[in-house]
């Protein structure tokens, strides 16, 4: 089963990378209020059901893929 994890800097946490991207987009002429940069992790997970895959990947996020002090995450599972 395929899962996609989106890891984002938590709201309120300074994201200098996002700020640099935001400024660059403005320089290109785009009207941008804010940009924030996170990361995507695509995982092929061994699970019997979508629910089981969610549970497994959620555990992966808590143990490794995201640092809960500064990052939030979302998990999408595709059958």
């Amino acid at each position: 089963m395929k899962a996609t994890v989106l890891v984002r800097p938590k709201q309120g946490i300074l994201d200098p990378q996002g700020q640099a991207v935001e400024q660059s987009l403005r320089k290109l002429g785009f009207a941008v209020a804010q940009a924030r940069v996170g990361r995507v992790v695509d995982i092929d997970v061994d699970a019997a059901s979508v629910d089981e895959a969610h549970v497994r990947v959620d555990e992966m996020c808590r143990q490794l893929l995201a640092n809960p002090l500064i990052e939030s995450y979302e998990v999408e599972v595709h059958e």
Binding site: I13, L14, P16, Q17, A20, L64, L65, N67, L69, I70
Partner: protein, 232 residues
Amino acid sequence: MSPRVAVIQFPGSNDDRDAVWALKALGADASLVWHADAELPERTGAVVLPGGFSYGDYLRCGAIARFAPIMDAVRSFAAGGGLILGICNGFQILCEAGLLPGVLRPNASLSFICRDVALRVERIDTSFTSRCREGQRLVIPVKHHDGAWFAPPKLVAELEERGQVLLRYEDNPNGAVGDVAAVMNESGNVMGLMPHPEHAVDPLLGSGDGALILASLLDAVRERESAAVIGA
């Protein structure tokens, strides 16, 4: 006997040899210990996690190194009260491994910063700062891209209350919360700092102030060993 210090060498460590050199210059029996080893050398009195870019800083700085086989031994050593010093990447690893509070984030400027910084010593009654004077100003270089220490406000307040912040930047170079340059764990046997004491152990190198931190650690090892001998 000289205090025995294990300097852990991860793939991508690059200050490991400097740490061994500096510790030896201060009288330690220091040696490199490979990340894939399962055990620390016998009679290890302190562990140093050196600077560098372990595992290419993949995912987050320090996030992968905590899975190295030697880290189980390091965790047991910490749990038994063993003295551990993490420098730069070593600090990042200790935070990711849950042995120190907080996390190191990219510098607010997004620049790699490589220069001497001034620090203020906040406490001297610790195993890592006993050779310093209260409030002493130390000059020690930093060289990092992800050196902005962060913890949520409630945790910061708790750490301040318990006196776990040992060094603060005089002129914050990286956006660290509370100007924090070094923190200690609650039981006082694990400390991490972003500046590199091993690069400042001789005035010929620009400053000898880093030697105060390393020599404090070696004093603490000697004290424990002589206490153990008397106890026996």
